[in-house]
């Protein structure tokens, strides 16, 4: 059997693939957004310039259906009507042939606002100056989850440790910026674009236009990382209105500055822990409060909050837990989906906190964590039996074998004191254990998504996959084809995936939440099995599959009890660094990773996920600084300011997979793409802590932060260090 598809990504690699910016239609117009310059206010007065012939302006009053983007809740308007909640919110869409004329018109539009005091941070949101931004208390969502008896737990504790951790924004920085092109065709409004979820765009157009004569098609997409889950709706809603009105093709493509400034980001989260440890050094109680900064509209914050709550104890069996989580409204760009969806924040916080607890109680962090691992006999935080085997101990052994973690911990603990060699370098090693729930939260796969796929065999015996899941650079199309080809036992080049086009493919759900392989791949495997059993030479055959949850899976959305996810994948990352005591820059000496993803269908494709996900996580933990300025917009505006690691910043990643097949995944596979982002930041921070012997509680850990931690207490007096004689 052929296992290498030489055509895979050939077009992208050779530069002949058509991205949305390469699409061209006769008479195509350009679109530009006019955006709010006020972070919180009500539109008071508007002065519009005279538009030359052929130039048009679209606003809330032009929306034929509902002026809402249907992202979970319908609170985010397609066009701001009266109220604005953040700088950059779309007020108008301008359309015309010459982009320079559009830019000039934008400059001539004058809106005055009656502004009120904006809230950018969680504490500002809580203060509710000038009243709430939304509801009565600025809370988009709130939920509490309890396991065991928290009071009884704390009564058994001999040590109680309070600790707080926080995470900042992260920018997706996909290579291709956001862009869509819309045009009328055969009575429908069609939007093509760079997107993860064509059916989301389809539903959005239909909601805004008030009819279902719409169609969404994915163009070749240059990366998403979650940034193209909900956000294409922000472009597609207004664009659909303009295309329907003018009946002409219109293109709307963000430049990089616009993309960094106004698209969704990873949610910043603040964690406050109170953890009780008993006389044997075991955790008996954990009380956790987590607060999420959602931005101006609800968007996906509720689901991020749910994942944060249900996975807040990570891979640990803690008997008594109370966790209370709130998603707060603020006056910034709404935060959205980003690889891991709440889990990288939660994993960083719990791993860092547990290291602090271990050190405080005189224990080795890795051994302390291992002593609390969930086992096959454990119950999860949400009270479910563990399904399948837990192989964390085996993974820990493997991680230690690869990285020599325990030996290095000992040797680095014995390094010379900084005062003895203030111009030298110090080494550190850190480890993080993590998990990722695959697929939509709870039983949403069953009650909401109900994924549907089809495979079609033509008379020549070639097989086409019909699914709405998109290849956004992660290699999904190859993996899907392999699942089907291997099940059918036919050569790989006889299987291909149809372009995700809502006119052609059933709604197999969005390309998010590590559900593509686990949920949709399994449906494809079952469809292929059905075809194999019923294969008839020389005729066209079609087989469909619809999602049905496994019998063991139970979930109660009210009480948050049951299987928080259908399946869970696991990982361990180890990071070794060398820190320059003069510049506080760190060099990464080693990166090791061990995963349980059930089974990797294509180990090389998964290696790509490991390399990308782990490096992205290292960037999240070390260099990717995205700060709000006083106006509530981001200080970092370009790829030169927002610093993601390059291949020169990381060594070759050494990784290993533990086989642990999952019964309800294709070939035993579980999800893996998001998982690879969950542990890197925590492991990096642990390595820095190990090098400098100081606790860290927020990311990113930049050289500036390390310098403050090491030398900030020198009273700003550069002439006399604390170690001077």
């Amino acid at each position: 059997m052929v296992t290498v598809n030489t055509q895979f990504k050939q077009a992208e690699a050779c530069g002949v693939a058509e991205y949305v910016a390469d699409r061209h239609f006769e008479g195509q117009l350009e679109g530009r957004f006019y955006r709010s310059s006020c972070s919180r206010g009500v539109i008071d007065d508007v002065q519009l310039p005279t538009f030359p012939p052929g130039y048009h302006l679209f606003s809330a009053s032009d929306v034929p259906g509902k002026n809402e983007l249907p992202i979970v809740e319908n609170d985010w308007p397609a066009f701001a009507d009266k109220e604005v909640r953040y700088i950059g919110q779309v007020v108008y869409l301008l359309v015309g042939p010459d982009p320079e004329v559009l830019e000039d018109l934008i400059k001539q539009i004058k809106i005055t606002y009656i502004s009120s005091t904006p809230a950018f941070t969680i504490s500002q949101s809580q203060a509710m100056k000038d009243g709430p931004i939304c509801g009565s208390d600025n809370q988009f969502d709130h939920h509490e989850l309890i396991k065991g008896d928290i009071d009884k737990g704390f009564a058994e504790a001999v040590t109680i440790i309070e600790d707080s951790c926080s995470t900042s924004y992260q920018e997706h920085l996909y290579l291709e910026t956001q862009g869509v092109i819309g045009y009328p065709k055969e009575g429908k409004i069609v939007i093509e674009g760079s997107m993860q979820c064509p059916w989301y765009v389809h539903h959005c157009m239909s909601h805004v236009l008030g009819h279902d004569k719409v169609r969404a098609i994915q163009c070749t997409t240059g990366g998403g990382f979650g940034g193209k889950e909900d956000f294409p709706d922000v472009l597609a809603g207004p664009l659909a209105v303009a295309v329907e009105h003018l009946q002409l093709p219109i293109r709307l493509i963000f430049n990089r500055t616009e993309d960094i400034a106004f698209t969704s980001k990873r949610h910043p989260v603040e964690f406050n822990y109170r953890t009780g440890v008993d006389k044997d050094g075991k955790i008996v109680a954990m009380d956790l409060k987590l607060d999420i900064n959602s931005g101006g509209y609800f968007s996906l914050s509720g689901i991020v909050l749910q994942r944060s709550l249900t996975t807040c104890t990570n891979v640990y069996d803690i008997p008594n837990v109370r966790v209370s989580g709130t998603a707060w409204a603020t006056n910034t760009v709404p935060n959205g989906a980003f690889r891991g969806f709440g889990a990288p924040q939660t994993c960083f916080a719990i791993e860092t906190h547990l290291s602090h607890v271990a050190k405080e109680t005189g224990q080795d962090p890795a051994a302390f964590k291992q002593a609390h691992f969930l086992t096959s006999q454990s119950k999860t935080l949400t009270g479910a039996e563990i399904y399948g085997d837990m192989v964390l101990d085996q993974m820990m052994t493997r991680a230690d074998e690869l990285s020599d973690y325990h030996e290095k911990v000992k040797s680095y603990a014995a390094q010379v004191q900084m005062s003895d060699d203030k111009f030298g370098k110090r080494r550190g090693i850190g480890l993080a254990v993590f998990q990722h729930g695959c697929g939509f939260a709870g039983d949403l796969e069953d009650i909401l998504v109900k994924a549907k796929v089809a495979i079609v065999k033509d008379p020549q015996g070639n097989v086409e996959i019909l699914a709405s899941n998109t290849d956004i650079g992660q290699g999904l199309s190859l993996t899907f084809c392999k699942i089907v080809a291997e099940t059918l036992d036919i050569p790989l080049d006889r299987v291909h995936q149809a372009r995700p086009d809502t006119d052609k493919v059933p709604d197999s759900g969005p390309t998010v939440a590590s559900r593509s392989i686990l949920i949709v791949g399994y449906l494809l495997e079952n469809a292929a099995k059905e075809l194999k059993e019923n294969w008839i030479e020389g005729v066209e055959q079609r087989f469909e599959q619809v999602y049905k949850k496994p019998d063991y899976h139970h979930w109660d959305q009210q009480t948050y009890q049951g299987n928080a996810y259908q399946a869970t994948s696991y990982g361990i990352n180890v990071v070794e660094i060398e820190l320059d005591l003069v510049t506080c820059q760190s060099e990464i000496l080693g990166l090791w990773a061990v995963y349980d993803v059930g089974h990797a269908i294509d180990a090389l494709v998964f290696q790509g996920q490991i390399d990308g996900g782990l490096v992205q996580a290292i960037g999240y933990g070390s260099s990717e600084k995205l700060e709000l300025n006083e106006q509530g917009t981001f200080a970092q505006k370009s790829m030169a300011d927002y610093v993601i690691p390059t291949s020169l910043d990381v060594p070759k990643i050494v990784s290993s997979l533990v086989e642990n097949p999952y019964e309800f995944g294709p070939q035993g596979a579980k999800g893996g793409g998001e998982l690879t982002h969950n542990g890197g930041a925590a492991a990096y921070v642990a390595a820095v802590e190990s090098a400098i012997g100081v606790n860290i509680s927020s990311i990113p850990v930049t050289p500036e932060l390390i310098s403050e931690l090491l030398y900030g207490c020198e009273n700003g007096d550069e002439s006399g260090g604390k170690n001077e004689d």
């Binding site: 990089r256 500055t257 111009f423 610093v643 310098s707 002439s719």
Partner: protein
Amino acid sequence: MVIAYRPETTAQAVEYLARGDVAIFAGGTDIMVGDKPVCRSFKGEPSAMLFIDAIDELKTLSDNSKTITVGAGLSLTELENDHRVPKLLRDSILQVAAPGVRNCATMGGNVCNASPAADTLPILYLLDTQVVVSSVNGKITFPIEQFIKGPGITQLTSSDLLTQLVIPKTEFSHTFYRKVGTRCANALTKVSIVGAANIQNGLLSDWRVAFGAVGPTVVRDQQIESLLIGKPVAWLKQHHNIQSIIEAYKAKISPLSDQRSTATYRLRTSLKLLEKWLTELSDG
């Protein structure tokens, strides 16, 4: 439509410039950055572009016993590959952006862009580089610290063309160069420092240091340098002597906080690097 000139001689080029409202395009790596081409010497759009890539005179490198003369149109890669170019300068070039950018970017462009964070500028200051500017009125030579007046601001008028850099040949027994960037490759500078010294018979016969990205222009102070020159190396063994040098520079360095780093970090790190270098020197 913008008029494009592509002369083959400096004489022709300065004639075009004398007509006014002409923007010089060398490698284009700064002009082409951003959503729209931006030219520092023009607020609006110039009516003509002067492409200087066809002028061979700007692409020559020559040397004599005392100096090396670098054509402004030589690319950073060409300088990096020429062993007549001082090693300190070549070391700094290797840390500029990525190979593709270095292949296009010119030495003259790097100087005229006059960014406080430019990687080559501290080296040029340290080496007492002279800048040769041509116009229809003839040639003028400036010491580089007089040529650059502020961020993006130089002595260049709209009718001038930077044609050459003249770098004195100076041998140093000890050098020190560190760029603190945002990452390993393709990184803009947060702080940089270059130092050079000659130690003869236990005396510091020459000692210089220059800092990048810690003020509106490169910081080099020959008055402070003169406090060290002529002193025995052993003078540095006294920690308070090193501290007095650091204190002197502390008063000269005025970094900003921006989206890439903080003023505190820049100040602290540049002084720590200086201390590290002085301590290294004290060990001979």
